[in-house]
Symmetry: C2
Subunit: 326 residues, 2 copies
């Protein structure tokens, strides 16, 4: 018997989820729900239906877990609690400051419906969070560091594109090798965000604009770039398409801790991702298994990755896992 | 209210546990149980009592979790089930091949006593196992690799010391940089254990023995060294004491996986430890919290790290953790 999955939203994350489900023999994709005209969705390599999101409730008994692939800014604050009443859900809510509030609204909805919702799943929040928690619990006398990149930052790329004279552009966040090495040595340095990362921009200028002026405006932009070591490179639209249309990302969680008489212990978790949305979707899909199982056990309400035993995300039996992977 | 802890065994691991508990404000060390004369134990910086192990049962109602710090070869197969009947327990059982059998005997004992035992806790088995499981569940189309080292191997050091003419010696297992880099690139190479690690020995020869013959005997020792690139260095007893009496260890779990149309995603977890026993003890102590909580919830029987939600190993509340670390 396979776990029946629905996907809400067919952007990069939703597309990644379709592909990730294909790698899971214990899952079956039933339908992709969209706000667009469902006929406009070209679902590839799947028998799943494209369905207008307004008809989702009709799938109440046909879907075990709904993977919400909308955005954190506007979609999830509404969709999260709405779907949690009717379906077990997984989402990648990542507006850090509002997580407690979001957790509560999803928790109430899920409990009312006898459903289980795992929120803020992915790699950060998600796998990085788990490692921050575990490293801190195991090495209480220490310090957590999170570095992001090398990765394409959507927010900073948007900021570049709002600059006058910029036709197109992308921004990579790159962790400082020197800072990582200091952290890895266990010295627990004090580092500002600016000392941890640098920013590299590839910009396509509009014709007739002064590139020096554009570069200056980017480098001095408050919050986004002013505090950082920032490089600006000007390239052609063709070059941008050819070399900068992938969405790589990744990063590091490192904790240096002391035990006993000053022994240094260094804990490190890292990801190097060719495709950020495909990896995030893969995490969501694995945790869909956990939502289904927790719900079967009667564990209703909102959960996070902190609440999920590793065994629940694997398709294999506890006996097999103990034998092969412990 | 603090969690009351007992420790069975006062070797390197037990000593590490005493120190790790001192860093945990929510725990109190009640007693260390030993087979030796308890008066011979010089417990440092703790008000805990040293007690003969034969009197452990008298502490039935005074201890919430017993941390078993005996060895896997001879102590734990007996102590594990014996203590699991009476106490919640944590142990670092690491004889991989016999884990299913050990799990079952502890499970029966713990269930009979209404207790909770988490077995095979530490870093491998333990944290490495969790990462093997999670990486596989998230990236089903991929391959797990585990590298150990740079680390002092007790078993291989013992093997050296059994060679005729060897007065003392240690062996370090060192992962092959080239193999790690190939795995990190996501190419998923086929690698034998010998291609993943090399072995470096520091040997103190007895007077009058031919060092060349000793080196030859070590390098050709079946199973331990013959299949590996092995270096043998001869040093003095003083040098051994000065430079090779620490117990560093660590290693890497790396999984390269593919998603979508051939995007490479690399998942990596690593540890660099100045003191293997102190780190292992720190993991045991954090999981003692989980054993206590699982037992409070009525989850009786044997568990492994696979069954434990991360939140259970942290002293902080779920609300705080969601706010600060998610």
């Amino acid at each position: 018997m396979s776990i029946k999955i629905g996907i809400v939203g067919y952007g990069n994350l939703g597309k990644g989820a379709v592909k990730a489900i294909q790698l899971c023999e214990d899952m079956e994709l039933v339908a992709v729900f969209t706000r667009r005209n469902p006929e406009s969705l070209a679902l590839e390599d799947t028998d799943a239906q494209a369905v207008h999101v307004s008809k989702a409730e009709e799938y109440k008994d046909k879907i075990d877990v709904m993977i919400l692939c909308g955005g954190s800014a506007t979609d999830l604050p509404e969709q999260g609690p709405e779907f949690a009443k009717i379906f077990n859900t997984i989402d990648s809510y990542d507006t850090h400051a509002k997580i407690p509030e979001y957790f509560q609204s999803v928790d109430e909805a899920a409990k009312a419906g006898g459903k289980t919702s795992i929120i803020s799943v992915g790699w950060d929040p998600g796998l990085f969070s788990i490692n921050r928690l575990m490293a801190e619990a195991i090495l209480p006398n220490g310090e957590n560091y999170t570095f992001w990149g090398k990765g394409l930052s959507q927010g900073h790329s948007d900021a570049i594109r709002r600059v006058e004279g910029v036709k197109n552009g992308v921004q990579y966040t790159i962790p400082m090798e020197e800072a990582i090495n200091r952290v890895r040595s266990g010295e627990n340095p004090e580092l500002t965000t600016a000392e941890k990362h640098r920013r590299v921009c590839y910009v396509v200028p509009e014709k007739g604009y002064d590139t020096e002026k554009i570069a200056q405006e980017i480098k001095t932009m408050p919050n986004y770039f002013a505090d950082y070591e920032t490089e600006v490179h000007f390239i052609s639209e063709e070059e941008l398409k050819a070399n900068h249309s992938a969405a790589p990302h990744g990063g590091f969680v490192i904790r240096g801790g002391k035990t006993g008489e000053g022994n240094t212990q260094v804990y490190e978790f890292s990801l190097k991702l060719d495709s950020n949305p495909e990896f995030t979707a893969s995490v969501l899909v694995a945790y869909a298994r956990a939502a289904y199982r927790l719900n079967q056990e009667g564990q209703f309400g909102a959960k996070t990755v902190f609440d999920v035993p590793p065994v629940y995300i694997s398709p294999r039996s506890p006996e097999q896992l103990r034998k092969d992977l412990l």
